[in-house]
């Protein structure tokens, strides 16, 4: 077992489709400065810096070199993590490992992406040159294939999918950092938006955002001294499945990387009934159908009952387990930061600093990451160190 570690501060930029007023280093600096302020720390106190970003979108090499100073990495121990969509959660898990090893007491993680600098669809098209490039239709076409399997297998409906989009964009209205805030969105409007890859509509997919998010991890002694209500990391698990989509059978329905990561994390913390025991969940929902599928993979309900959870309002702000009070990835998606935001939002709920998106009395929070075709990260945060 590693040493006890808690998140004591978080910071985010205001995410939107194009932050033309800043360059990438300035974006990183905004998040890092906000997290330091939240933790009431100076950069001199930070021992190590982990950066997370998904390469290729901005068309720039060596982000860590150009953005590192914005995260205060100058002359410090510093790494970059890049694992596709999971970059942000893997970065957070790396930050946790650094502190849990006992080698570092205060670690800052900054996830960032500036989609508007480059061409996201071009970045997505630069997939495997032998098998994928000729046929791949970005994340949307890729997911649409899996949605056909998932709908056939589990009977989830278009209306249930659209309800997830409505929940996400309405929740986003309570989050000043969220990109797509749509108070008047309806199921009808979602299903009337253009079909990009059948059956996936534009408003069922995540957007492309510019944004950064920073988290500060601290060792037990420092966390207790410096934070009135630390968010203790109780489990952090990562699992990778096959890389070739055709080898992941019925991906959304089986999602074995997420199931396995959750199983290990739940066993570590002793969670038996996740729907009852978690007070809030921030899960990485690249599209609406995935959120419903993740309900099942995470054991919030039995297989085939994910659609019913959204129908019954169980995952709404006032439901038994609010999922994504922040608005989720469907509302805000600076890819390299999206996972970091999940962890930061889960921590924020335990800190009790969630503002209008705060769920009352959060003691146990779940955060997940999703990346590439079938990679998963699961973190469990608690108000109690053990």
């Amino acid at each position: 077992m590693g040493k006890k570690v808690a998140i004591i501060g978080t910071g985010q930029t205001n995410h939107c489709s194009s932050r033309e007023d800043v360059n990438e280093m300035e974006l990183v600096y905004e998040a890092a400065a906000a997290a330091l302020k939240d933790a009431e720390m100076t950069i001199a106190e930070i021992d190590a810096v982990v950066l997370a970003n998904m390469e290729l979108f901005e068309g720039r090499a060596l982000h860590d070199m150009w953005c590192g100073e914005g995260a205060g990495a100058f002359m410090k121990h510093s790494f970059k993590i890049s694992t596709g969509g999971t970059s942000g959660t893997s970065g957070a898990i790396s930050g946790y490992y650094h502190a849990a090893s006992g080698l570092f007491d205060r670690v800052m993680v900054v996830g960032f992406e500036k989609h508007s600098d480059g061409n996201t669809l071009a970045g997505m098209a630069l997939t495997d040159p032998f098998w994928d490039r000729h046929v791949a239709a970005a994340a949307i076409g890729n997911f649409a294939l899996s949605v056909s399997e998932y709908m056939a297998d589990r009977g989830v409906t278009e209306e249930q999918s659209a309800k997830v989009a409505v929940k996400a964009r309405r929740n986003a209205c309570n989050n000043p950092h969220a990109h797509l805030q749509m108070p008047d969105l309806t199921v009808k409007k979602v299903l009337e938006s253009p079909v990009l890859a059948y059956p996936v509509h534009r408003l069922e997919m995540c957007p492309q955002s510019d944004g950064a998010c920073a988290i500060i991890f601290a060792s037990e002694e420092i966390a207790k001294k410096r934070c009135p209500r630390p968010a203790w990391v109780r489990a952090a698990v990562t699992r990778h499945d096959h890389i070739y989509l055709g080898e992941v059978k019925n991906r959304l329905a089986t999602m074995r990387s997420l199931k396995e990561a959750a199983k290990v994390a739940y066993e570590t913390v002793g969670i038996k009934e996740p729907l009852k025991e978690f007070d809030v969940a921030e899960i990485y929902d690249p599209l609406t159908y995935a959120e419903i599928a993740w309900y099942e993979a995470l054991g919030f309900c039995k297989d085939g009952e994910g659609g019913k959870l959204i129908d019954d309002g169980i995952t709404q702000m006032d439901g038994e387990l609010p999922v994504n009070p922040s608005g989720g990835v469907i509302s805000t998606n600076p890819v390299g930061a999206s996972g970091t935001i999940r962890v930061a939002e889960a921590a924020l709920q335990i800190h009790g600093r969630g503002g209008r998106r705060q769920i009352p009395d959060v003691n146990l929070a779940l955060a997940t990451g999703y990346g590439v075709y079938c990679w998963s990260d699961v973190l469990i945060l608690s108000s109690k160190p053990d």
């Binding site: 669809l121 032998f130 046929v135 253009p194 890859a197 055709g246 080898e247």
Partner: protein
């Protein structure tokens, strides 16, 4: 959110690049694509431990971490296990140009293979696509030794 209203005052550096890449196929892909080019056969490789026939072929089975060995012919007929119809002009990563829309795409489990392959379907109408439909690979006459040698998968009646 800081919004700059005076857009003309922002400095931007526009850059357009033409880049060239040459990706070596490696021993297993090379054998697959040479066979496809020469004979039109689609080949998979079998893991001696779990007996899955893998396409793309690889030197090692991801699940068993065992050296794969025996090459076996798969397809050209197969079954659609997942499908979609694309209505957005995504970039064709092999040409850099937008692909003409609409078109059908699917995961096709080739007869005799464990893996399904991601490819274009002849049928693009979502009302006519369904899981379990039978299809057959249609090949180019003048093949070049790449996955584009399979033009698309044609719907067949059996």
């Amino acid at each position: 959110m800081k919004r700059n209203t005076e857009r003309e005052e922002l400095l931007r550096i526009p850059i357009q690049m033409k880049l060239q890449y040459r990706f070596p196929a490696g021993a297993h892909y090379e054998r697959f694509f040479r066979e496809l080019k020469k004979t039109g056969k689609i080949m998979g490789i079998k893991c001696p431990e779990c007996e899955r026939v893998l396409v793309p072929p690889r030197p090692v089975c991801g699940e068993c971490f065992t050296r794969t060995g025996e090459w076996v012919e798969v397809g050209p007929k197969g079954t659609v296990v997942a499908h979609t119809s694309i209505y957005f002009p995504f970039i064709d990563g092999s040409t850099g140009k937008p692909r003409p829309i609409p078109y059908g795409a699917g995961l096709i489990q080739l007869d005799g293979a464990y893996s399904a392959i991601n490819h274009i379907l002849e049928e693009g109408d979502p009302d006519k696509l369904h899981i379990g439909m039978r299809v057959e690979a249609m090949l180019k006459e003048k093949r070049e030794g790449n996955i584009g040698d399979i033009l698309y998968f044609k719907t067949i009646e059996e």
